[in-house]
Amino acid sequence: MVVDIRKSVHKKFYEPQTVSAEYVKAGFREHLEVASHMSVRLKAKADFIIAGASKGSFIIVEMRRNVGQAGTRQILSYLRMPVVAEALYISSPERQVEQSRIFKHEDIETLPKLIKIARPIEISYLNQELVETLLGSQGKYVLEQVLSVVKDLALEMDWPLDRVEIHYVRDPEMEDWEYVLLLLVFTCDFDTADRHLHELYNQIDMLSGKLSDKEQEVLQRMVFFDIETKASISST
């Protein structure tokens, strides 16, 4: 069943309001109930949506779709990057959002759109043309599959993954060795990021088993991973 969320749950708060966590939970429960019927692809496991982006204020609502739970949630630092999706621009908040903070929520109508951008991991190419030339069409498919695994896993495991940078690299020691480096930029300590990379290795190995021999060769010879970490933003 597809429910028109705009008719049933349209509310506007034109001024900044101080609200308790319970108020937010109650206020959004009905939205989430409706949202659970929408024809938007969502994970069955805990997911989260962002609502009410305005001037740096965010409400983060965690949704456990199948059990009907919802609650406010600290904004993860990897959500700090500006996100552009379907012409909807969300500016980066300057600080973490905590329960019972002041929330500003201007247009709940955006909820369906916002659900679709619940995976705000930025993918950026550094010299996309060279990457695509090197990989060819087969390699491009492999890269798409790899990125899909990264994004799905990051969402499922709630990784503090800020962005993925795709680099074309001509090896500094061997000039004729060219490859693609996927640099996963995390907002956490190194050990945590390294653990996530190993979780990714397992999934990539599983992906490899589903690829053709030629595609496996591309994955083995041309695609490499590394991580970079930056300190998380502490709440003030």
Binding site: M174, F190, D194, L200, Y201, D205, F224, F225, D226
Partner: protein
């Protein structure tokens, strides 16, 4: 009959580089720690190269290209654990050539990763003809 001279640098088991790395890793000076990281990488690379050749997985050429063949062969044989050798080499280049501050991975990571890769390579069976 001429008597053989003792070589200036006798033959080496690459794993001895890892022993040396562990030995100097506890010293606080950055030059010692960087050398330890560098030796940890070379223990891994040289041991892997020699073992992969001995077990019939690759041919050793004895020049820089061997880095590429070792990395790719490890990825092929050990799955994405082979990516760790690639990361070690990247970090080794940083600690060796970059004289400014160098961040993570730590020396401890280098030593542990070296051990992990060497143990995995040891367990590889000989390649079937």
């Amino acid at each position: 009959m001429t008597s053989r001279q003792k070589p200036a640098f006798p033959a080496l088991d690459p794993c001895k580089y890892l022993d040396l790395a562990r030995e100097i890793a506890c010293r606080p000076e950055t030059q010692a720690r960087r050398t330890a990281a560098d030796r940890a990488y070379y223990a891994t690379f040289l041991f892997s190269r020699d073992q992969l050749e001995m077990k019939g997985y690759m041919t050793r050429y004895g020049y820089a290209e061997d880095h590429r063949y070792v990395t790719q062969t490890l990825k092929e044989l050990l799955g994405f654990l082979g990516n760790e050798e690639f990361r070690m080499r990247t970090h080794r280049n940083n600690v060796t050539y970059e004289t400014g501050d160098v961040g993570n991975p730590s020396l401890d990571w280098m030593l542990k990763t070296a051990e992990k890769i060497i143990e995995s390579v040891k367990k590889l069976p000989a390649s079937s003809p």
